[in-house]
Structures are given as C-alpha cells and as structure tokens.
Symmetry: C2
Subunit: 308 residues, 2 copies
C-alpha cells in the first residue's frame, strides 16, 4: 500500500467524500503520475499507451461497486492534462468517484485538465461524482478545465453530480452528452466562486433517442468580485423531455450570466428552462440573525442550504 | 383626404386593429412615400431632411391620444428602409400604432426595414403597438427587419405590444432598451410562422436605473417547416427586477430555439427567466374534437388562445 503525504491526505478528504481507500478498483494520480492503483474482479484500470490517462473497463456484472480515481496536484507551476476513458458494459451498475484538488503554495499557475469520456452500454446505470477544490497560500493560480463527454446507449442512466467547492481561481467546464433511445440523464451542478475567481460552464445535451430525457439542475453562489457564466444547451431531436434549471445567488460585487439554450427540432420534444439570479433571501437572513447568528454566519448557513 | 386603393385598405385592416383614419396625428407610408399625413395640437410629424422617415414630436400635454403611422408595401421587388424617431416629452401619455403590411404579387423580394427610436422623457407613458403581416400570391419573399431602440428616462413607462400575424417569409428583429431610474418596460411579443418562414428576434434590455423593472413575455407558434430563434437578454446593472418568459408551440416539422440570457451585475438585481417549448396541448385537442371540431379547427382555436 502506497504511503500518502499529509497534503495529499488532506486534499483527498476534500475531494473524495466517501473516503479514499486503496481497495477495490482505484487510481490515484499525483502530479501527473499514478501513485497507486488497483483492479477489482469486475473493474479493470489500464494505463493508456499513447497519452497520459487511463482506460477503465467496467463489466456487465458490476453491481453497486465504486471506482475511485482522484487527482491531486501540489507542484506549483505544473500543467497536468489527462485523458480518462470509461467503458461501461451493458447492464452494469457503478459509481465513479473522481475529483481534483490543487494545492498551490508557489507563485506559478497549477492546472489540471481532465478529459473524461464515458461510453455507457445498454441499460447500464452510472453515477459519476466529481469534486473540484483548490487551496494553498501561494499566489499562483489554481486552474481546472474539465471536459466531460458522455454517450448513452438505449435505456442507459447517467447521474452527473459535480461540485466546485472553493479555491479554484479559474475554471472552464465543457460537458457534452448524447442520449439514445429511452436514455436518462440527471445533472446536479454546484458551483461556488469567491474573490476574483472566474467560472464558465458550457453544456450541450443532444436528446437523439425517442423517449430520452434530461434533468439539469445548476446552483451557484458568486461572492466577492467573482464572475460566472452558464451556457447549458438542450437539443430535442426526437420525442423527448428536458428540464433545465439554473439558480444563482450573487453577493458583494459578483456577476452571474446565465445563457441557457433550448432547441426543439421535433414535434414531440418538450423542453423547459428556468433561471433565476438574485441576492440572498433577506427574510431568512433576518430570521437567522434573530436567532443570534452574525450576518456572516447566517449567510454561510443560507448558502450551504442553497447548495445542498 | 387621400383616397386609398383596395389593397391598401385591406392591409390597413390587418395591421391597424384600432382602425386607420385620416384624423389627428397620422402618417401613412406607401411604397416608400408618405401618402397622407396630419398633425394634432400636441403631436407634430415632420419629414426627415437627411434620410427617409419622420420625426414625431409628442408634447408633455398629450393625454391618451393615438398616433397612427402604418406602412404598406405592395410593389414587388421594393426595399423600403425608413428611420422614424419619436420624441416624447416629460409627462406625455400616448399610444403609437405602427405596423407594416406587405402585399407581394410578383416574384421579387419586397422588404421593409423600419428603424424606430424612442426618446421617452421623465414620467412619460408610451404604448407602442406594431403588427406585421404579409400576403400576395406572388413567389417573391416578404421580408420585415424591424430595429427598435427605446431610451427610458426616470419613471418612464413603455409598453411594447408586437405581433407578427402571418405571411412574413423572413424577419430579423432587433430591440434595444435602456432603462433609467424607476423606469418600467412591458413587452408582449407574439409570433406565428408557417411554411418555410424564418424568424429571429434579438432583444437586449439594459436595466441601468435603480428601481427599474422589465417584464417580457414572448409567445410563438411555429408551423410547417418554419424556424424561429429567440435571444432575449436582460442585464441588471442596478437594483432592479426583470422577468423574461418565452413559450413556444411547435407543430409539423418546425424548429424553435430559445436562447435567453440573464446577467446580474449588481447585488440587488433580481432576474428570472422561464422558457418552454412543446407541442400543442393534447388534452385540449381531444376536448375540442369531442365537441365536434375537426383536428384543424381545434388546433386553430388552441393556437389563437395561446397567442392572445
């Protein structure tokens, strides 16, 4: 079993809520190198030969198993680009826990670009959890640019649960999903920015299969002078349902821009979008302050409740 | 009093619901020329010297008066570009009835580009009605590209009621609104496209003044192989409220794309957007058919109710 240093342990606690253990199928990437890795009976992880990254093979008999593939970057000035491919066989049921934490105590930018592609077979059910986190007293920026591609075959179900907790100076998220017949997508995106951080999230969901559906919920809080831009796009090319909801709280001098796009190209495509941007709920704030909380504490409670 | 021909009379009935009369302040533009025009005590219409179009001066004592400025194009192959400016003084209350109808019985494109600018003084209240309509058995396209700029000073109120009834082959609408302190904007946009028509509507609303508000409702029906794109944008630069709602019904092989953008740049900017695209309500259809209507009749009733 690989020994992990204190910083790595601390970051893993932030990005892997279920708790990272060197058991079953796992792969810990540290400063661009696989620090430790394991397979299970049904899940095999293979290092790519042609470029950095791994291929994860999840066979059809996988039921309720977890794969943990966290990434830690603690070298200042490092750019880590990784390509991870997931091949999920027909009927598999799996939870993939990813996430990336950057500890930057230097003055140079540390960056991680994770390009993840999911090939999800007929009727398979995948839950993908991804947490992004930055820390470190250095002035160097912590940058995360994830690219996520998801291809869902007939009856496949995919749940994308993604959260940017804090400390990420700049992020550019790109998510593309293609849904086959009766496939279902659930997205829960949570994002918190503060200080001078910027975040942009682009998502394109192509509902190609008859009976496919997508439910996308995005919740964000922008504090300080931070800037957020959301551009979710749902395209209905068949009889399908999609519901996109973006809610944002702005605080201080922050700015949020929400540009959803819904595009119905089929008579039986039903697509709904809702977005709201506003300040923190004043009534809740007053109530919590009446209970003895400081303004800051009360705001913290409301923000946490909103994001969870 | 100018005598109007049969086609002009017929088109005026479509685009001027209140009924066009050569009374009070009015200006009828026909194939690029002012066919008749009149002033009232409080409203003066002056022909522009430097380019085609009119300046309409509405003084502060105007209360409840109407100005009618319809445009009729019935020459095939004509492109009519007109610049109309409206100067509405502090405290005026006025209804401006515009609208454009194209009768094209030839094989060349007939086009009208109306560039309208509204300078609305303190506390003035303007209702602007605009209907667009096309007809004629010719194969030449009927094209309408309106540009509408609205500048609202403190406490001004502007109601924009715009409808594209039918027969317009191609439209590109550009609407820009700037709101001062406590200014209020109400927009009701109705759009119906059929056959191979295309419609694009871009709207940018800048809420610059403290206490300003905007309520934008867009309803559209796309039939045949028609294509519609909506891009309303609301930017909150001060403590303000905005609500944008776009609802569309698609029929046959039509396509609708809705790309609203809400951008909050101030802590007290509260902006909400809702959009929905879907097919005609099946339950209503069944109910009306039970009452003895044909499918076509039932659809007609539902579409009309939705747009009104």
């Amino acid at each position: 079993m690989a020994l992990l240093d204190r910083i790595t342990e601390k970051i893993l606690k932030q990005i892997d809520g279920a708790g990272f253990k060197q058991e079953g199928a796992y792969n810990l990437r540290h400063n661009g190198i696989a620090l430790c890795h394991g397979d299970s009976e049904h899940i095999k992880i293979k290092k790519k030969e042609d470029k950095p990254g791994i291929d994860v093979y999840i066979d059809g008999r996988t039921k309720g198993e977890q794969v943990h593939i966290p990434v830690v970057v603690d070298a200042s000035g490092m750019t880590d680009v990784v390509y991870n491919d997931f091949f999920v066989e027909e009927g598999a049921e799996v939870t993939i826990v990813a996430g990336c934490g950057i500890h930057n105590s230097g003055c140079n930018e540390s960056r991680h670009d994770g390009i993840h592609t999911f090939h999800v077979g007929k009727g398979a059910n995948v839950r993908y959890e991804e947490k992004h986190y930055g820390e470190g007293e250095g002035s160097g920026a912590r940058v995360l640019n994830p690219v996520t591609k998801i291809i869902l075959e007939e009856d496949a179900i995919f749940t994308l649960d993604t959260a940017q907790i804090k400390g990420v100076d700049s992020t550019q998220r790109e998510t593309d999903v293609v849904l086959g017949k009766n496939a279902r997508l659930y997205v829960m995106e949570k994002l918190m920015t503060h200080d001078n951080q910027t975040a942009e999230s682009n998502m394109e969901v192509q509902l190609n299969g008859e009976g496919s559906s997508a439910q996308i919920v995005s919740r964000s809080v922008a504090k300080g002078n931070s800037r957020q831009v959301f551009h979710p796009k749902a395209v209905g090319n068949a009889g399908c349902h999609a519901h996109v909801q973006c809610d944002s709280i702005i605080m201080d001098h922050a700015e949020v821009s929400s540009i959803p796009e819904i595009n119905a190209r089929h008579l039986d495509a039903a697509i709904v979008h809702e977005a709201a941007i506003g300040r923190i709920n004043d009534e809740q704030l007053v109530k919590l302050r009446t209970l003895g909380m400081s303004e800051e504490e009360a705001e913290g409670v409301i923000v946490e409740a909103f994001l969870n």
